[in-house]
């Protein structure tokens, strides 16, 4: 068994890498509106007319970006948008849900846009619902929210942990896409947390009405998102992602036959069930049940005391392999078998 200690590339550390990725995505979403503000100040050639707070934004952003760009007004246009749809150095990437919703709403295939969803689609077919665990800016907040729930529990305030039917989110997806088609408008954008988070951060920082006030422009989406946070906190842990998210539903469907999945090594498992406790999506890794919901977030790998999980190329989960070989119930079973063997 390879121990995690001293091995930088051990898969136990993937969960930390995931947090790094989530943080980077979220920080980018925070940074981009400020970069945008800086660009507008540069475009206006009016540094001297700016109020002190905006001068500060200008100075900080100038320091941050000057090593990379010489013409901030145009060169900083290279990175725009959010995880719902973004532009990276000329490459446009979009959420598959955006593609599906737009096709439903406009009732036609606009190929330049559909192609922007291709790269995320390929990744999803290989890695499953990885977006939900590794990139989604709402996940960043939802997981912090889960940690807050733990904290509240320690303080004696009990958070909710109700369970509902996971299939409910497929209904949300179907209804959302159907309503988009009926209304002729992409309505799913209004109830999809990562789209909301990306948009509302930008609204909050750069769209304060016409008053140019930082953090003054939050819209209805922020209220909706805050409600989902409360739902997660007091009704059901990570409830929105598990039971309601239309994007999660689409990713789950696309990732049903994902190629890369986490599997339990029954020989190493000691039945401690920490993986079940830590799984944000309420799955059952202990009984080899990951299913299409698993987002390969690797939290179970990180918590496993005996390193009993591994990544395997397979389009199917293992069927339940029985209790872990390091666990008590397996040992008892072995003993019983040994006792009964001489008789046969």
């Amino acid at each position: 068994m390879m121990t995690a200690k001293g091995n930088f590339f051990h898969i136990r550390h993937l969960n930390k890498l995931r947090w790094v990725v989530l943080s980077i995505v979220f920080l980018m979403l925070l940074l981009l509106p400020f970069i945008y503000l800086y660009q507008t100040y540069v475009a206006a050639h009016a540094y001297d007319l700016l109020p002190a707070s905006e001068k500060q934004i200008y100075n900080v952003m100038e320091k941050l970006t000057s090593p990379f760009v010489s013409d901030p007004e145009n060169q900083l246009d290279q990175i725009k948008g959010n995880t719902w749809s973004g532009t990276l150095f000329g490459l446009k990437l979009s959420d598959p849900l955006a593609v599906v919703s737009q096709a439903a709403a406009s009732q036609k295939f606009y190929w330049p846009f559909i192609l922007t969803g291709l790269i995320p689609l390929i990744f999803t077919l290989i890695l499953g619902r990885f977006y939900c665990g590794w990139i989604c800016p709402a996940t960043f907040l939802y997981e912090l929210n889960s940690n807050l729930a733990v904290l509240l529990n320690k303080m004696g305030i009990h958070s909710g942990n109700r369970r509902f039917d996971r299939r409910f989110k497929y209904l949300v997806l179907a209804v959302g896409v159907t309503l988009s088609a009926v209304a002729g408008a992409v309505l799913t954008a209004a109830i999809y947390p990562p789209a909301i988070v990306g948009r509302e951060i930008y609204y909050g920082i750069a769209q304060g009405g016409y008053s140019h006030v930082v953090l003054g422009g939050f819209g209805a989406g922020a209220v909706f998102f805050f409600t989902t946070l409360l739902f997660d906190l007091f009704v059901s842990r990570r409830g929105f992602c598990r039971y309601l998210c239309p994007g999660g539903a689409l990713y789950s469907l696309l990732g049903r036959y994902r190629v890369l999945r986490i599997q339990r090594v029954v020989e190493e498992c000691n039945d401690c069930a920490k993986c079940n406790a830590v799984c944000e999506f309420g799955l059952d890794p202990l009984r080899d049940s990951f299913g299409q919901e698993c987002n390969n977030c690797t939290a179970c790998i990180a918590i496993c005391p005996t390193d009993a999980f591994e990544f395997k190329f397979s389009v199917k989960d293992k069927v339940f392999q029985g209790p872990g070989h390091l666990g008590r119930s397996y040992r008892r079973g072995q003993e019983a078998r040994l006792m009964s063997e001489p008789d046969e």
Binding site: D77, T87, S94, A98, A105, A189, R199, A206, G219
Partner: protein, 197 residues
């Protein structure tokens, strides 16, 4: 009495439903209750609503900060779609929003004179001669000087009296700059209806 009230409501509803089709085009496509422009290169309004994915990139690239977004008060179908209120901040026709738009709701248009005059149609300026200072004998001409397409979209005559021409693209800089209060020149949006016809 209740039944009578119900019947009255029914007749009223039917009348409204029947008269809807004869209302102006603008009243049918604009359900938000405000006069707004879509960004340059935007598709006709109903197509725009169905194709815009509400990602916010057009606003995030607009150097003039003229693009803002609808809130929930203006209806779910336009929620988070971009719009411009020219009196607040008008379009400088930089054409960056069309480049960045991934959904095709704002079509990319090259930033050349020919392309802009030929393809952009956000609306059309209209002068209120009762309000316009130049028409009231006080030489002004601010709208003409604000226009990016001088002598193509707008011309001035005697006493700088403005006259809007057919090539006006409706960017709104004239409305933004008008020194009268309320503004004597304003953009009448057509929401892409002209291009369709």
């Amino acid at each position: 009495m209740k039944r009578r009230q119900f019947l009255a409501d029914l007749i009223y509803g039917a009348t409204v439903a029947l008269t809807l089709p004869v209302q102006s085009v603008e009243a049918r496509v604009n359900t938000t209750g405000i006069r707004y422009l879509r960004p340059p290169g935007a598709l006709p309004e109903d197509q725009f609503k169905s194709q815009c994915i509400r990602c916010g990139q057009c606003g995030e690239i607009c150097p003039n900060r003229c693009i803002t977004y609808f809130g929930i008060a203006n209806g779910m179908d336009v929620l988070d779609t971009p719009f411009i209120i020219p009196r607040e901040q008008a379009c400088i026709l930089c054409m960056k929003c069309g480049d960045v738009c991934p959904s095709g709701a704002i079509q990319p248009i090259k930033r050349t004179f020919k392309e802009i005059v030929g393809k952009v149609r956000m609306g059309m300026a209209r002068v209120d001669e009762n309000l316009c200072l130049s028409y009231q004998g006080k030489t002004c001409g601010v709208c003409y000087r604000a226009c990016q397409l001088q002598d193509v979209a707008i011309k001035v005559g005697m006493l700088e009296q403005p006259r809007v021409l057919e090539s006006c693209v409706g960017c709104g800089l004239c409305e933004r700059s008008c020194i009268q209060m309320p503004q004597a020149i304003r953009i009448i949006p057509d929401y892409g209806q002209q291009k369709e016809a």
